[in-house]
Amino acid sequence: METYYKPEDLPKFEEIGKEAPELARKFFEYYNAVFAEGELSEREKALIALAVAHTVQCPYCIDAYTQACLEKGSNLAEMTEAVHVVTAIRGGASLVHGVQMRNIADKLSM
């Protein structure tokens, strides 16, 4: 079935540098530096990336960081909890706007 998202497109990501190589170089250099071991371990960073991948709902990122998390030593329970963390924040972000709704409703209501 035709789809916008094809797994075989993932290796083509590098081609994004063809029209703007200098920007791509800077981006990938920065990207690799971000994911290197620092105050946070590579494993922790991959878990954050996996969670964010679910928030931005990028199938390429979910594929790449599921593999990265496993290869950095995380297990499915940890990865599932990471997805719940972003789910809580996403849901909470909607719910907390209810305060705004209440403020407006209060102002307009008798």
Binding site: F13, E14, F35, Y60, E71, K72, G73, N75, E78
Partner: protein
């Protein structure tokens, strides 16, 4: 955003199917490398394919049904004589589960005078079953225990090694610590081996070792010496699982992509000889699994006048990509 490093790797891995993968000897030639023996310092002894577990990543298809392929007393005698002749720096005992071979204590006692270091590869649950019979000989001969412990997670461990294995492993590590194994100053070395629990590559050795120390101590009060982290070899039961799950081509691609020419110099096959349960010699336990005899010739241990000659060629095949991936396999 997908990980750029992964993308670069995937792009570099031109073959899409296992059949398109370059033969290992060709990739060596491309890098102007030869895989030949140096001085042989380790004798690896495979006591047999009998095992109490049927791990899904096992390259030898070891299991409870392999009752015939186990070393007998006559072969053991020939192996000990060879060790006496060569005085290897290390004797590495493996299986199957070597604990299930009744000759294991005899082998350890007979070979101990001829080597300063004996290692026993254990899946922990077999050692737990035979602890009363084995612990005295292990501690008295200062045998290094190299224990399989694939993951800090119960589900991952049990998925790879069988239901209940994680809890049994923790119980056995606790018992080993109580005997002094893995404890500072005891002189009893306990090392762990972790294999990925699926079709993916292992984590960075240093980082995962640090994490294992931290979590095992924190959750169960356990200590150990070193952790070794190896990729799974696409042979035996693991190869079958890869094919059945549609992961085979992609896994081989990962191994080929991770080929590291710098790892060749330190490969274990360069400095060890592996003797099978029936006494025949191989360059490594993986070649044993494939039936690829040492140097391409079927030689029995009793025919050997000494260690294999330095400079003699090592038989290679597709599975050699595993040991040459990343930082290598020792």
């Amino acid at each position: 955003m997908p990980e750029p490093a992964n993308i670069t790797e995937m792009k570099a891995a031109s073959p899409t199917k296992a059949s398109e993968i370059m033969p290992f000897k060709s990739i060596l030639a491309q890098h102007d490398l030869k895989l030949v023996r140096q001085a042989t310092t380790t004798l690896q002894i495979n006591l047999g394919f009998l095992c109490n577990q049927t791990c899904r990543h096992c390259h030898l298809n070891a299991g409870p049904g392999r009752t015939k392929e186990n070393m007998d007393a006559q072969t053991l005698k020939a192996v000990v004589a060879y060790a006496q002749k060569c005085r290897f720096e290390t004797v590495d005992i493996t299986g199957g589960a070597p604990e299930l071979n009744p000759l294991l204590p005899e082998l350890i006692q007979q070979i101990a005078p001829w080597t300063p270091r004996i290692m026993l590869r254990s899946n922990l649950s077999a050692l737990k079953e035979h602890m009363n019979r084995l612990m005295d000989v292990l501690t008295s001969q200062r045998v290094v225990i190299v224990a399989s412990f694939p993951s800090l997670n119960l589900s991952q461990t049990d998925a790879q090694r069988g239901e209940g294995i994680f809890d049994e492993s923790i119980a056995m590590l606790t018992a080993l610590n109580a005997r002094g194994y893995g404890c500072d100053g005891s002189g009893l070395e306990l090392n762990l081996v972790s294999n990925p629990t699926g079709a993916f590559m292992p984590p960075n050795q240093e980082q995962i070792e640090k994490r294992y120390h931290q979590i095992l101590e924190q959750k169960w009060g356990l200590t150990f010496n070193r952790l070794f982290n190896f990729a799974n070899v696409p042979l035996g039961r693991f190869k079958r699982w890869l094919i059945q799950t549609g992961n085979y081509d992609a896994y081989l691609r990962k191994l080929v992509t991770a080929f590291n020419p710098c790892a060749i110099e330190g490969l274990m096959c360069r400095s060890q000889v592996s003797v099978s349960w029936d006494g025949y010699l191989y360059d490594c336990d993986f070649n044993l699994s494939r039936g690829l005899y040492m140097g391409g010739r079927k030689i029995h241990v009793c025919e050997m006048a000494g260690p294999p000659e330095p400079g003699s060629p090592i038989v290679t095949a597709e599975h050699c990509y595993t040991c040459a991936a990343g930082s290598g396999f020792t």
